[in-house]
């Protein structure tokens, strides 16, 4: 393919910098990881990634990520709705605070959540009285995952809700529909692509989260050990092949989630095709 004759200068330099940076910083390490995992041979590879402890870690990670995402779906949609549709004192502050989980380093979030939910903590104390233990249980993992991925659903739904044409709701009203049926049949379907995009981002982030979780999780193999931690532990045990294999599973999952997320975001555009 021949390049179009260029008008603007700077492509060789800009593209050169970009390609070198991407090659060294992004592609090289990921390729090295895949190379290391591939050098294991299929039998060893399969043995490592299908070991009981690894499978248990997948189960813990995926289950908790699903639960955290489900919680954030409800919380995120409600939060976006409140921020867009209601006017109340402190709305701008709440709007800004939504991004705190992105701005707060995960380790800081981790120790803060652990302190809150430990049995002597502000929330953990009262909860333990009614027999609910959060810190050092799967519930704690869910809390940490929810915290770190709160902004995703809010920030994907918020702009769509803001731009939702009021005339669509008014059309529903003139046609005699109740609030509930307008919400269910008109508003929710129009938010669905954005919700799904937010959900896939939130879920992907929860699968990969490490810093916020390890403090609160308890990290007991088979019950509260997430996959990311298992990869880390194998490393500390100098079991590099195992670490590479487990990390490669996470990498593959990340790629699958990236594809799903891109697909979901493209679908968010589906109603824009105009005749």
């Amino acid at each position: 393919m021949r390049l179009r004759r260029r008008v603007l200068p700077g492509l060789p330099l800009a593209l050169g910098i970009t390609l070198v940076y991407v090659a060294i910083i992004v592609v090289l390490p990921l390729a090295a990881l895949v190379f290391k995992a591939a050098s294991l041979g299929p039998e060893d590879y399969w043995r490592i990634i299908s070991s009981d402890r690894a499978v248990a870690s997948y189960r813990v990670t995926v289950t908790c990520a699903l639960a955290a995402t489900a919680f954030n779906l409800v919380f995120g949609l409600s939060l976006a709705w409140v921020l867009v549709r209601y006017r109340f004192p402190g709305r701008r502050l709440v709007d800004a605070l939504v991004d705190l989980p992105f701005a707060l380093p995960t380790a800081v979030a981790g120790i803060a959540l652990t302190t809150l939910f430990a049995t002597n903590g502000w929330f953990g104390g009262p909860l333990s009285l009614i027999g609910i233990k959060v810190a050092y249980t799967p519930l704690g993992i869910m809390v940490a995952m929810s915290f770190t991925s709160i902004p995703f659903i809010v920030r994907t739904v918020q702009p769509v809700l803001e731009e939702l044409d009021p005339a669509l709701e008014e059309a529903g009203q003139t046609l005699g529909a109740s609030d509930l049926s307008i919400f269910v049949t008109v508003i929710l379907p129009l938010l669905t692509p954005a919700l799904l995009a937010g959900v896939s981002l939130s879920f992907a982030r929860s699968l990969g989260e490490f810093g916020a979780i390890i403090f609160i999780a308890g990290n007991q193999p088979f019950s509260t050990e997430i996959t990311a931690l298992l990869a880390f532990i194998r490393l500390e045990e100098y079991d590099y092949p195992a670490s590479a294999a487990i990390a490669s599973v996470m990498l593959l999952t990340a790629f699958v989630m990236l594809a799903i997320t891109n697909f979901m975001q493209a679908r968010a555009l589906r109603y824009t095709v105009r005749g």
């Binding site: 593209l15 910098i17 910083i25 090289l28 939504v98 702009p159 490490f210 590099y240």
Partner: protein
Amino acid sequence: MAHHGKGKPPRVGDHPLFRRALLTFVLVLVGLMIVAPLVVIGVEAFSKGVAYFGASIADPDTRHAIMLTVITALIAVPVNTAFGVAAAWAITKHDFPGKRLLTVIIEIPFSVSPIVAGVAYLFVFGLQGLFGHALQAMEIKILFALPGIVLASMFVTAPFVARELIPLMQAQGRDLEEAATSLGASGWRTFFSVTLPNIKWALLYGVVLCNSRVMGEFGAVSVVSGNIRGQTNTLPLHIELLYHDYNAAGSFAAASILAGLAIVTLVVKVALERQGAGRIQRPSALAGADTVTPEVKP
């Protein structure tokens, strides 16, 4: 009449009871999930008094961790910014084969777990890795030293500047740059006097978010740093170390620095969003606008 003077009929979800219930639900959860963690950091940091807090911050290991974090940011953020600008310039102002693929690859670090990133770097520069032995022979230390920390930080933040600039520069098109070039301006001149003024807020926005992430990165750095107290511990790693040493107050004192940074980041972010930077410029937001209001109103 009941409705007189009240303007519009209620919109969906405006029923007072529903409104109050939903608002309460959301504000309580925001309090529990977002505000409480922030408050507990402050409370715990000062749980042994101001003097202890001061002593914790002044501790040589903590000071060293702060220094290391700042040095890492001073290297990683400018390099990353240069990369982000170069990538955005190449992708939005030019056409070349593989552009779409390049855009996707730049976004990858955003989807990859920091732990995977750390492990991946180990297999490049570690003794088990591609260049480990060669590096050892040349006595170049990358892992468990500053270069490894910087590299891992650059990986996790690679997309931050580019992803702010690309949608904005795409939307702005090439007309201004083409006009400047046709008037005889050089490439650098065009960039500094035409492009940069139009992207400065978005650029700053990307830089601020990038810096926040670099200073707070934990997972990737914890793999490649080696956690050597007073040598390769960044501030987040130092927080973990103190926490596991059962020095909660010291740990939270160190954490409060990063929490303060997070708050500053949020404030700057809001200020920059008022200037038009940030999420409203992103394609997802713009796509959202198109989704429901296809007709352009005059």
